[in-house]
Symmetry: C2
Subunit: 400 residues, 2 copies
């Protein structure tokens, strides 16, 4: 185990490593810190090829003490694929898709759940609770089932139907709320206080981010231990972009990549864009977004606990934050599928809509290496595609 | 390129290698044969770790001449995970799930499409057509989009809605038929004859099976270049089980695994079980199954072109064929999700229902290594799960 301590990124308070810990006394999320010199001495980046084809290949950089506590469904090492046709049609010479649809439960949420639930199991948690827009609930319910941990989930009633089904099939306790994820969060907050459950809300425990950060390790490893110019990320709670930034800083500290940091772009839907508003005002934190609504349901987060960390990653990497309309998102989804075959989720499609905006503005140059982070499979969003196929009888021929 | 020729497994006729070829003049599917001695000399099984984390790691054993023709979305090297809790609850000491839900398009059909479409591109095909129960259509439409090949798909109207959506989003030409896949096949047959399109129907071209066989390579590699005692496979068209048998024979011929062959089990739904009927009669071919109906829609195949190859694989490996009811399938789906977190498709769940039957009959011993082949993600089958979550208002507390 190479964890040295937990650290508050807001008030800099230090905590001993412990797995039942939630947030800092100041209210901020906590970050896990490692003895990176010792990791760099123990691990050689050129000897990764014998490692598992999952995020557990970065075992030394993950906060689980005992292998016996690891809960894994084979998550991670998702494809980083080139998108040459899409790039050619829209003016990008080096466009890539990091496809997090190819993972257990169909979204990148599996990474946070795999590490978070492994840590919860190691800590002896018997019940955990969380609010979710759907995909995190699906992931945590699955890993909790495998870990034998009771999982209580509260989700907006407008969440995709498939999330209800994937959570129910694991035997988790599922509740819907006639409201947003912020309403679900308040219900969970009262319940964990009352029952002493572990609170697995976004960034209210420090281990989910450790799972998500592995996307950053993988992008660097898959590019040959270097980084692209730009990474575009759909941002709701923001754990992924915080995690990628943290991962790349860790790789830099270990000397595994050079000093170059990709410009990190936080994309939001124009119907729920608190981070973008804050960025445009050059603020350090965001304001609660009233009346949030978008087809990219997974990023309908009116106010993220880690907003200041998202904004810090954006500012420090010389990135930006961009809002895109639902129309642009749905058009991007179709363009990606028609050009490259990837059926991406609307949140993932938002990254390409943002890339097009930034290229048009000259913020991205045509030859730059741009990685679109597709956070999940479009298979979970059938309602985003319209189809009216012709119906034939068995004796019919195909129309010419 | 290590392909030596194409061979008819029924009449033994030999064909030169060519990519526009369809079936033998005798009507049988063709199999691709390799110069395995030359592959074994060129490739060392202990040096696979630097290879891509996809089925293209077995490049020398795939029938594509030029890398430039490869169409890949990152398919293959799916997880082979232990299922210890499920095994413990039901009396299996060494139970594994090969999880083909963790792949582009969410099902194992991506393997056949990746290799099949790459070969079609290499052959200069501009339009291909196929009948499908849904998942193959989704996969071939995606890879055709990436390859710039026009894709014409005919599918039963009762196929899952998600298949309609995933096909439509790629821009493929989709038609529904008020009938079964056999009716769709007849419509496609007339169209390809009329228009000169490439016929990508199951086993009417020899390359889909080459993609599917990589499941066999992976199981052997992931177990340390040895095989389990039993592999249980949900069987519709049967390409997967034929492919796995072929792959293991190839590995044996190269000396990469020993002479032990796993017992291959073909599972069908009791509502459509032509292979099981043939097996019970010790027949070499199957009869058309009238009135086919099951919740495991992907294996609703009344008569498979490769039935004799499926039966040969079963007989030669000392395997068997088993039918399971829809009730047993849906129960197995829930048991797997509750014990291990994997949300498998009903076809995949059928393998565990079969395993339980075979264990109860003494055909499987408790300590034997049993691999369940889950052919796809349950996310494509929301209708197989019932969920009635409690609805709360924002001010409510969770019920005790």
């Amino acid at each position: 185990m190479y964890v040295s301590h937990l650290e508050c990124p807001r008030c800099t308070q230090i905590y001993d490593y412990g797995k039942r810990i939630q947030i800092c006394t100041c209210g901020s999320p906590l970050l896990v810190r490692y003895d990176l010199d010792r990791v760099a001495a123990a691990l050689n980046k050129n000897e990764m090829c014998g490692r598992p084809a999952s995020l557990w290949r970065y075992r030394e950089l993950l906060p689980v003490s005992d292998d016996a506590h690891i809960v894994s469904l084979g998550e991670g090492l998702t494809p980083l694929v080139r998108a040459p046709q899409l790039g050619h049609r829209f003016g990008f010479k080096n466009l890539f898709i990091k496809d997090e649809g190819i993972i257990p439960t169909g979204t990148f949420k599996a990474r946070g759940a795999a590490v978070g639930v492994s840590c919860a199991r190691e800590a002896g948690v018997d019940t955990l609770a969380m609010p979710t827009n759907g995909n995190a609930g699906g992931a945590w319910a699955a890993y909790c089932a495998a870990a034998g941990i009771r999982c209580v989930i509260v989700m907006p009633r407008d969440a995709p139907l498939i999330n209800t089904k994937e959570i129910a099939v694991t035997g988790a306790d599922l509740f819907l709320v006639d409201g947003l994820i912020s309403d679900a969060g308040r219900i969970v907050g009262r319940a964990v206080a009352q029952h002493g459950w572990f609170d697995a809300s976004t960034l209210k425990e420090p281990f989910r981010i450790e799972g998500k950060k592995t996307m950053g390790y993988e992008i660097a490893e898959q590019m040959g231990w270097r980084v692209p110019d730009v990474i575009i990320y759909p941002t709701g709670g923001g754990v992924g972009i915080i995690g990628i930034f943290k991962a790349l800083q860790e790789l830099q500290a270990m000397g595994w990549i050079g000093p170059k940091m990709p410009r990190l772009v936080a994309v939001q839907a124009s119907g729920c864009a608190p981070i973008v508003s804050a960025y445009e005002a050059r603020a350090r934190t965001s304001e609660f977004w009233e009346g949030a609504a978008t087809c990219a349901f997974g990023i309908t987060v009116p106010k993220a606990l880690g907003d200041f960390l998202v904004l810090e990653a954006v500012y420090a990497s010389h990135g930006c934050a961009v809002a895109v309309t639902d129309d642009a998102i749905l058009d991007a989804q179709a363009q990606i599928a028609m050009a490259e075959g990837n059926f991406v989720c609307p949140e993932g499609a938002a990254t390409f809509a943002a890339a097009r905006q930034l290229l048009a503005q000259g913020w991205i140059q045509p030859e730059e290496e741009v990685v679109l982070l597709n956070t999940g499979t479009g298979l979970k969003y059938p309602q985003t595609v319209e189809a009216e196929p012709v119906l034939l009888s068995p004796g019919d021929d195909l129309p010419v």
